[in-house]
């Protein structure tokens, strides 16, 4: 078993090395087959691991000692349990589909770049698997940094475009800010407990050792890390810009897997969060605010990928709301269903972009329903799933989070409901503008419209089926299910707050959210099936269109002062102080040399004089030394 688990992680690494080193050797077909094959191998091994966990429970595998000192021992261990095995399946499963899709989507690239793309993608899967499999926070951090690096590399994949490069840098820097929080939390744990292994940290004994301040600080610092990686306020602005990368990358990294790392981390640490009321409130408030903010922005965006990006931010906000109100299994449930339907939506959007020859503006689309039948149908399924219409998957997971939010505080529930209505609205605005009505593009585009090749539609169809039926793993009891996922995760989640809702209340909550989603959905279809959004007219419309001017605010409040400070350092401190010291040293040496050079007159008599004087000086010093030594000697005695 140890070897099988090891190879889950190693296959993508092998793929990365082969494609990365042999990028000038292989043909495109070989590259794509290799990359997809290794991820599929990981998927098969993950299935074995998953069944093994079902049969025998959690396992910890020791490979070697990563860091070993007298006080801290950090082993390189992997842990397969209910939570990580689920994430393994999602990552490798969705990863395989997206690799398959990429092989056709990226066909215009030359072979070396094609290989570079797949090498990065494989490296990403490797890092992500390391992140979820690691048995301590340090291994998780290695994967955490690895996925950040791959995200940077893939956003800037088309590196000749400066805008894309800037987007990549933005993502990287925003993530670094969050990583600092994570790192500080790890240090805090090491200082207080001397260990970072889950088995030794996440139990009642270590909780007893920590004061409530420690717990609050650690949980909040971990949450700062999650904010960066999972794009929450105030560090969310990188995610919409990350859409500069190829569309399958957006689907895999910026929708299905990497951005859910924060949720994974908090679910892993749930026992700490349950003990810190402050941290829970902060997580819930940040989550719901992000959900609402991103949803309002998504309503006014016209770029097909931007809408999906803000939708992702918004859904991540929901997951954090779930974590904040203690519905950990609900959040994980939403991670999984979201991975299905958001990967589906991104891939379908990629299929549209592919057919439209890299046109992403939905105002220039329309009427694609008949031209791209498979893409249309799968996209529609994705929209229904995310809008929360039963019996599609999004309904079950979102409903679970909303019910838990209601149990905690009805205000959360109400705000979440508004967010859900907006979600349904902007998703169907996107659907109607893109697929219904008349085609608004150019003649050339119209003549080129075609359904995507099989290797792109197969992943779409598989994901569509999963989006439709994925909810089955968490059907709540009042709908006749027994919530398999909740039972599955019960070993991980220490004390899930039990829902104290009567069945009537649950029915009402469910009914309200479905009704409101349906109303929003119908309004959107009615409004946008004939024409697209024009330029925003009202002040509010412009404000939303410009994304709440958050980027501008950051520019004014943080970037410009920083630039001015850097300018001050460069112009004043560097030129006067630092250069002054450096040049001064040189000048002093030169001056000293010019003066002492005069001593070498060539008169032998002077040389001897200097010699004698030096000897006399040395004697004086020596005698003085003796005197001083004797003085101290006497003093001591």
């Amino acid at each position: 078993m140890k070897i099988i688990i090891g190879f889950i992680v190693l296959w993508p690494l092998v793929g990365f090395l082969l494609n990365g080193l042999g990028r000038n050797i292989w043909s495109k077909k070989t590259i794509a087959t290799q990359a997809t094959g290794y991820i599929f191998a990981s998927f098969v091994f993950s299935l074995i691991a998953f069944w093994n966990v079902q049969e025998q429970g959690a396992m910890t595998m020791h490979y070697f000692d990563f860091i070993k000192t007298s006080t801290v021992k950090i082993p390189f261990d992997f842990r397969v349990d209910a939570l990580s095995s689920l994430f393994l399946l999602v990552i490798t499963g969705v990863g395989t589909l997206i690799h398959l899709y990429s092989s056709a989507y990226m066909h215009e690239e030359t072979a070396p770049h094609y290989a570079r793309y797949f090498a990065y993608l494989n490296l990403f899967i490797f890092s992500m698997l390391l992140l979820v499999l690691g048995d301590n926070y340090v291994i998780m951090f290695i994967g955490w940094e690895g996925v950040g690096l791959c995200s940077y590399l893939l956003i800037g994949y088309w590196f000749t475009n400066t805008t894309y490069n800037n987007a990549a840098k933005k993502a990287f820097i925003m993530n670094r800010i969050g990583d600092l929080g994570f790192l500080l939390a790890i240090f805090w744990l090491i200082v207080k407990l001397g260990t970072v292994s889950y088995g030794e940290v996440l139990n009642a004994e270590s909780l007893a050792k920590l004061s409530s301040t420690d717990i609050t600080a650690i949980t909040l610092l971990l949450f700062v890390g999650a904010m960066g990686k999972s794009a929450q306020i105030p560090l969310y602005t990188w995610l919409p810009d990350a859409m500069a990368g190829p569309t399958p990358v957006s689907a895999l990294i910026h929708a299905a897997t990497m951005v859910t790392a924060g949720i994974y981390m908090i679910t892993r640490t749930n026992i700490f969060y349950t003990h810190s009321e402050i941290a829970q409130t902060v997580v819930a408030i940040i989550g719901i605010s992000t959900a609402l903010l991103a949803a309002t922005i998504a309503i006014k965006q016209n770029d097909i990928k931007k809408v999906l990006a803000y939708s992702t931010v918004s859904q991540l906000g929901y997951m954090f709301l779930g974590l904040g109100v203690g519905a950990y299994s609900g959040a994980v449930f939403h991670v999984i269903t979201h991975a299905f339907f958001k990967a589906l939506l991104f891939l379908a959007a990629g299929s549209v972009i592919h057919a439209m020859h890299h046109e992403q503006d939905i105002r220039k689309m329309g009427g694609l329903k008949s031209k791209l039948p498979i893409t249309h149908l799968t996209f529609l399924i994705g929209c229904i799933a995310i809008a929360g219409v039963p019996p599609f998957s999004g309904f079950f997971s979102k409903d679970e989070i909303l019910a838990a939010a209601y149990a905690k505080n009805p205000i959360y529930w109400f705000l979440g409901l508004i967010g859900a209505a907006m979600t349904a609205f902007y998703m169907f605005r996107l659907y109607a503008t893109t697929f219904l009505g008349q085609f608004r593009g150019t003649e050339a585009q119209a003549s080129h419209l075609h359904e995507s090749p099989v290797s792109m539609t197969i992943p779409l169809m598989i994901l569509a089926v999963l989006s439709a039926v994925g909810g089955a793993m968490g059907v709540p009891e009042i709908l006749g299910g027994h919530h398999w996922l909740g039972h599955h995760l019960s070993s991980i989640i220490g004390a899930e707050q039990a829902l104290h809702l009567s069945h009537t209340t649950e029915w009402i909550l469910m009914g309200t959210s479905v009704a409101i989603a349906l109303v929003a959905l119908l309004i959107a279809i009615g409004k946008y099936s004939k024409q697209a959004d024009g330029e925003p007219q009202t002040a509010l419309g412009k404000f939303l269109y410009n994304k709440w001017l958050v980027d501008e605010l950051y520019e004014k409040a943080i970037i410009q002062p920083l630039n001015r400070f850097a300018g001050f350092l460069k112009e004043v401190v560097e030129k006067n102080v630092i250069d002054g010291v450096v040049n001064g040293t040189g000048k002093l040496v030169q001056y000293g040399a010019r003066q002492t050079r005069l001593m070498q007159s060539g008169q032998v008599g002077y040389y001897i004089l200097f010699m004698v004087l030096s000897i006399v000086l040395l004697f004086l010093i020596w005698f003085n030394d003796l005197a001083i030594t004797r003085f101290f000697h006497n003093l001591i005695q």
């Binding site: 007159s601 060539g602 008169q603 032998v604 008599g605 001897i608 004089l609 004698v612």
Partner: protein, 111 residues
């Protein structure tokens, strides 16, 4: 006789030698001053040797403690003799070439 007298005599001789080397320009006089310094040291060595040896004889007859300095003096005298022969030869060569024994003339080596 107390050792202090020897030390003062030697210091005086040595200082005369140093000052002579520093101030005089005639190579032969400089040379003589160097000899003076050497002999000041020799004198001091013999004086100390006598002092220690005399003290050692008080406690044990036939002791050799302290006489090694006197052996040193012989070495120094031998080396000084060799040095004199080489040094005088140089001065003679210098006089033949420059018709002078002024050491400042030698600063032509500077370049």
């Amino acid at each position: 006789m107390s050792i202090q007298y020897y030390i003062i005599l030697c210091l005086t001789l040595f200082s005369i030698g140093v000052v002579g080397v520093l101030t005089r320009r005639n190579a032969i006089i400089v040379f003589m001053c160097i000899e003076l310094m050497l002999n000041a040291v020799n004198l001091l060595l013999v004086a100390f040797s006598k002092m220690y040896h005399g003290a050692a004889l008080q406690s044990a007859a036939n002791t050799t403690v302290g006489i090694d300095a006197q052996i040193f003096v012989f070495f120094i005298m031998v080396v000084a003799a060799a040095e004199v022969s080489v040094g005088l030869a140089i001065i003679v060569m210098m006089y033949r070439n420059t018709h002078s024994v002024d050491i400042n003339f030698l600063n032509r080596l500077k370049n």
